[in-house]
Symmetry: C4
C-alpha cells in the first residue's frame, strides 16, 4: 500500500468510528503501518473529525519519531508503535472509549465469549490487562499501556483475538488493515453490549463451548472459511 493510500485508509477508519457512534468529540484514534517502509500513519491529536483531511495525518517511524506532518500526533502514539513492534502481523490499530467495551474495562472484566457473534470475530474472551502500577503510570505511561497489552497477550495470537481492554481505561483493537481494525472495533462494541445484557440477565452464564467457538471462528477465518463471496 502506498503511503498516500495508507493516509486515506487511516482517515477513513477514523471516520468509520465516528459514523458508528464509537467516538464522542475527539476521544479516539486509528493508525496504520507500512511494514516495508517502516512508517506509521496516525491521526493528529485533538482535531475535530469533520476537519480531518488525509494530509493532516502524521507520519512517524516505528519508534514514534515524526517523519512528516505539521500537527502533533495522537497522544496515544507510543501505544500504537509498541503494538506494531511487538505484534508483527497486524497492520492497523484503533483506540476508542466506546461505551460498553469501556464499561467492561472499568469493571476490570474480560468480555467472555457468550455467543456466536463474539466467536465470529474473537477466538476466546477479549482479555483485560493488569492494572498499571503507580510506577508505570508515573513513568512512560503511554508506552506502559502498550506493554500491559503485550504482557497480557503472552500465549494469545493477536490476530485470533484482535482486541484488548486496558483496565480502568478502554479498548485497543487491531487488524490487518485500517478498515479491518475499525470494523473489529465496531463489532467489539456490539459484542460488549450483548455481553453486558446477558450477564445482567444471568450472571452465571458460562458462554459458548469450545466446539462452537472453533466452528464460528474458523467459518470466517483461515483456509476453510465459508462465509462471504471471496472464496
Amino acid at each position: 500500500m502506498l503511503l498516500e493510500e495508507l493516509r486515506k485508509s487511516v482517515l477513513e477508519a477514523n471516520l468509520e468510528l465516528v459514523r458508528r457512534g464509537l467516538v464522542l468529540y475527539t476521544f479516539g484514534n486509528a493508525s496504520g503501518v507500512d511494514r516495508e517502509q517502516g512508517l506509521v500513519v496516525i491521526k493528529p491529536s485533538g482535531v475535530d473529525y469533520d476537519e480531518l483531511r488525509p494530509e493532516h495525518m502524521v507520519v512517524t517511524d516505528l519508534e514514534g519519531k515524526i517523519v512528516e506532518g505539521k500537527l502533533r500526533p495522537s497522544s496515544d502514539l507510543d501505544t500504537h508503535t509498541l503494538l506494531y513492534r511487538e505484534f508483527a502481523d497486524i497492520g492497523a490499530v484503533v483506540h476508542t472509549h466506546s461505551e460498553y467495551a469501556t464499561s467492561f474495562a472499568q469493571a476490570g472484566m474480560a468480555i467472555p465469549a457468550l455467543g456466536t457473534t463474539h466467536a465470529d470475530y474473537f477466538y476466546g474472551p477479549v482479555p483485560v490487562t493488569e492494572e498499571l502500577t503507580d510506577e508505570a503510570i508515573g513513568g512512560r505511561y503511554v508506552h506502559e499501556t502498550g506493554l500491559a497489552i503485550v504482557n497480557r497477550f503472552k500465549g494469545i495470537d493477536p490476530l485470533a483475538v484482535p482486541a484488548c481492554l486496558v483496565a480502568g481505561h478502554a479498548p485497543f483493537v487491531w487488524g490487518r488493515t485500517p478498515h479491518d481494525a475499525a470494523h473489529n472495533a465496531v463489532v467489539l462494541e456490539a459484542v460488549a453490549r450483548m455481553a453486558y445484557r446477558t450477564l445482567t440477565l444471568e450472571a452465571q452464564c458460562k458462554g459458548v463451548s469450545q466446539a462452537l467457538l472453533d466452528r464460528h471462528y474458523f467459518r470466517k477465518h483461515g483456509a476453510s472459511a465459508t462465509y462471504g463471496q471471496s472464496c
Copy 2:
C-alpha cells in the same frame, strides 16, 4: 406469488431489518419460499445491503441446491430450508443477531410472555433450543441448528409462536410472507428489550395470565380478530 415478486419481497424484508436497526454490517438474512414451485429465494452471503438488488437473490430448491444465481447463498441456508421442509405453513424465514433477543439466546433463557405486546404476536414464551452437542457442531452444523429448532417446537404451532432463540447464538423468526417475518423479527426485538428491563427490575415477574394471552393473541389472529381495517 411469482418468483420475481418473491425476489423483491425477500429483498425488501432484508432491507426492513436494516432500517429497523436489527442488523450490523451483514449479520442477517431473510428468505422466502414458493411452495408451488418448491423454490427458496435467499439473500447472498456477505454482500453489503446497499448494493443488494432483486437479481442478486439466490434461488435454491428445498434441499438447498442452487437453481439460479451467481452468488453464494447465505451461510445459514440449510437452517432456512430445513424450517421450510418441517414447518409446512410458513412462507418466510428471517435470521438476525438483533441485540436483545440475542442476549436472551446467549443467556440460554426463553423470553417469557410478560405483557400484551408479546401476547399480540407470540402465543406463549419464545423458546430457546437446547445447546447443540459437540457432535452436532462438528457435523452438519447449520442443518443441526435447524433441527434444534424443530425439536424445540414439538407440540408448539410455529405460526402461533413465530420465533425461536438458538442457544448461544441468536433468533430465527418466520411468518406467512417475507413482510410478516421481518415484522415479527422487529417486534421480537422490542419484546426482548421490554422483557430485559422487566426482569432486571423484577426478576420474579411471573408474566401474563393465560386469559390475557388468549385475549390478545386472538384479537389479532384467527376468525374473530378485531384489529386493523381488514375484516
Copy 3:
C-alpha cells in the same frame, strides 16, 4: 375547539408520539373530546402513521357509537370513552406501549416519584392497576381496562397524576388537550427511563420528600406557578 380543529390536534398528537419514538409500527393511539358536543375524535385502527390525515380520524359519541368516519376506530376506544365519562376534566387520552413505562407495567410496579423531573409532571407515583380478573378479560375487556384505571384512581386527582400503568399491558396518559396528553406521555417515558436506571443502581431508593414533590409540582401548576412565560 371546533371539531375540525380537534381532528387536527388529535392527528398531531398521534404524530408527536411517533416523532418521539414512543410508537413502533401502529402500537399507539390518541384521542380528544369535545365536551360541549359530547364527541370523541380518535385515531383509526392499524393505519400507517404516514398515511394518516385529519379526515381519517373517527368521530364517536361518549358511549363509543360511531358518528362520522369510514374507518374502524382504534381497538382501545372503549377505554378512552370510559375515561372521558369518569374523569370530567380531561380533554385527551393517549395510549402507547412506550418501552420503559411498559416495562414497569409488565413488572406490576408503580413508577415512584424519584426526582424533580417526575415531580414537575406527576404529583405522586404513577400507579399501576390491579391485574384484570379472568372474567374481566373474557368479558368487555377494553371497557374493563378503563374500569381498572378508574378504580385505581379513587382518591387521586387525574389531572395531578395524568397517567396510569395497566398491569401486564402498558400506560394510558391524559391531559387537558391532545398536545398536553402527548407531551405527558413523552415525559412519562423519560421519567420511566430514569426510574429504571435509578432503581437498578439503588433498589432501596426512597424517592423525593413530600416537600420537594409539592415545590416542583406547584412550580408548574396552579395559581402560583412560576415557570415559563405565560403568567
Copy 4:
C-alpha cells in the same frame, strides 16, 4: 468578551445541549458571566429551543436583578447567580436533566471515578449534595439549591471537578466559558452512562488509582498538558 459575544455563546451552549440529546423539550438552561461588568446572560424560561435567538437571552446582575430583556429568565437563575458569586473562577453554568447523571442524582449517589474518561475531565468523584431540608425547600428553594452545591464543594476546587449532582434533582455543570460548560455536561453524561454500566456489572468496582487520576487529569489540564494542538 463583549456582552454581544456572550449572548451568542450562551445561546450556542444551550443549542449544543439539545444537539447532544441532553435536553427534552425545555428541560435545561445555560448561562455565562461577564466578570468585568458583573453581568449574567441566561436563557429565558420555557421557550422552545428552535425559536431562541441571541436577543432573547436575559441579562441580570450577579444578584439576579434583570438588567435587560423582555422575557422571564430561567427559573433556575438564583442557583446560577449564587454559583457565580461563590465560585470566582467559573465563567458559565449549565443545568440539564440529562438522564444518566440524573439517575445518579435520584439514587443519591456520587459518580465515582471509574476510568480515564472520567479522570480526563473530573479530578475525583462527581459529588452529590445533601438532600435539602423541608425548610430549605419551602424557603428560597432555588437559592438553597445553589447553597447545597457550595456546601458540598468545601475543600474541592470547582474547576478541578466542574459538576455537582443535586440529590433528587439533576446535575449542575460549569466551566470557564459557555462552550466548556456545555462540553463538560456532555462528557458528564457519557461518564455517567459508563459508570452506570460498570456498577451494574460489578457493584464493588473500586475505581481508578490516585496515580491514574493524576496522570489523566494533568494530561489535559495545567502547565504540563500534552493533549491537543494548543501547546
